[in-house]
């Protein structure tokens, strides 16, 4: 139980995918302009991360590892995730129309999101078992959401400020992202400090 809690804390704070591991920066900068779009993107990422882990972990364990083909992880995982996202989209369109409309373009966009690929590969690299992998993916998704939603607030403030001309747009956004990331350094050591690991 303690370990799962540690995984959650790590995904949210110390090993935050966006702010500490710098994965998934493209959607982080691209769709964090407004709170509602960033919330939609985050929800889609949580969903896809967990489902992708649920599918790729057994593939890795029972196909790749068994036949010494671990070097194929990246390409196989990309293939599986892309197909999975398409499948989710088709099923969702049929049975969960409101959710499909709410997630909209973000769902197909996630196919090429490196954070999703990152989390499934890290699960394998860290040697997590099946439930641990699922919890870790969920935590990573939540961490992504936390970073997105926080940063949407930051960007809202930036927009209503007098920014020097040469910093307008992406430059000031990147600087702000760096500062937010820096602030997350403050969480370093809490896992060890709480005796969770």
């Amino acid at each position: 139980m303690k370990f799962y809690f540690a995984l959650l804390l790590m995904g949210l704070l110390t090993q935050n995918f966006v702010l500490a591991k710098f994965l998934g920066i493209c959607p982080f900068l691209g769709v964090s302009k407004k709170l509602d779009t960033s919330a939609g993107m985050s929800a889609a990422v949580v969903l896809v991360m967990v489902l992708a882990t649920a599918v790729t972990w057994p593939i890795n364990e029972f196909l790749l590892e068994k036949y010494d083909l671990a070097y194929l992880q990246t390409i196989v995982f990309i293939l599986v995730i892309a197909a999975l996202v398409q499948l989710i989209e088709i099923v969702m369109k049929k049975y969960l129309k409101p959710l499909y409309k709410a997630l909209g373009i973000y769902l197909p966009l996630i196919t090429t999101n490196c954070a999703v690929l990152g989390v499934v590969i890290l699960n394998v690299d860290n040697g997590y078992n099946y439930p641990q992998s699922l919890v870790n993916s969920f935590a990573a998704g939540l961490g992504f959401g936390l970073a997105m939603i926080m940063f949407a607030g930051v960007r809202g403030r930036i927009e209503h400020n007098d920014i020097p001309k040469f910093l307008e747009g992406l430059p000031i956004t990147l600087i702000a992202a760096a500062l937010v990331s820096l602030s997350f350094l403050g969480f370093t050591g809490i896992i060890e400090g709480m005796g969770l690991m």
Binding site: Y67, A83, Y95
Partner: protein, 264 residues
């Protein structure tokens, strides 16, 4: 087995399996697309202005195609032509579109309403409004930083001498500007009804309104007295014209001491 062959077979196998799965899923979970909806969508102008009251053209198209709505004259951007095309396509009575135009109820140019400060913030009406209601003396005046200009999908609004002006020929009365205006001084006025318009939204007492702007409505009631059609009422020190009663005689505009009534 040869490791290379195994790898090729595995990746190929997963690819084929995923492809088959998707092919089957797309058949099993296929969502019937309403052909009518697509047809309607093509007729609609595609401006997504929201003037019909739906989230966009596709929203209105879905409502029309499903038979939920039978009124095909809701598209203000397309006007009569679109209504007729829709009526023909769907076999409904076309009806006519009440053509309206947005009007900015303000004449607060710097000559009329002097600036009370030098504003150096974010140049949007919404931000300026938060700082003592904008730079002009009159708290009801057009801020003039163009939130409505940005909101207009038809490029119909321009800022002339710090007051927003709507181009009647371009305006399609979707109402986005009215929603974007933080002062709520833009209204949609039907084009078919000609008559008097009170170009002011200042509901302060006469003396205060007069100090704020030379052309403010001070609520003196002179227009009300001269109006033979009883079309004018004064409420909260602000005259308003009932355009269904207005005959367009123009006497109120002559009588108004502040020249804040115009005829059109």
């Amino acid at each position: 087995m040869n490791p290379v062959l195994l790898a090729v077979l595995l990746v190929g196998g997963i690819g084929v399996a995923a492809g088959l799965l998707l092919a089957v899923a797309s058949k099993v979970f296929a969502v019937p697309v309403n052909e009518k909806e697509e047809g309607v969508n093509e007729i609609l102008p595609g401006a997504n202005c929201g003037g019909c009251g739906y989230s966009g053209c596709s929203g209105y198209a879905a409502a029309l195609a499903s038979g939920e709505v039978t009124d095909c004259s809701k598209c203000v951007a397309g006007g009569d032509e679109t209504a007729q095309a829709l009526g023909e396509y769907l076999g409904l009575a076309a009806g006519s579109v009440e053509k309206s135009c947005a009007v900015v109820f303000c004449q607060g140019t710097p000559e009329n309403s002097a600036p009370k400060m030098e504003y150096r913030g974010d140049m949007t009406c919404a931000s300026a409004m938060k700082l003592y209601g904008g730079a002009k003396t009159c708290a009801y005046s057009c801020v003039g930083y163009g939130d409505c200009v940005k909101a207009c999908p038809f490029d119909a609004i321009s800022i002339v001498n710090t007051v927003a002006v709507v181009d009647k020929n371009k305006c399609r009365a979707c109402g986005r500007c009215a929603a974007a205006c933080p002062k709520r001084i833009i209204d949609l006025v039907p084009v078919s009804q000609t008559g008097a318009l009170v170009m002011c939204k200042n509901s302060d007492k006469g003396a205060a309104a007069k100090k704020a702007c030379v052309t403010a409505c001070i609520g003196c009631g002179k227009c009300m007295k001269v109006c033979e059609a009883n079309a004018i009422t004064v409420k909260n020190f602000l005259a308003s014209v009932d355009r269904t009663k207005c005959t367009g005689c123009g006497k109120c505009a002559e009588a108004c001491p502040d020249h804040c009534i115009i005829m059109r």
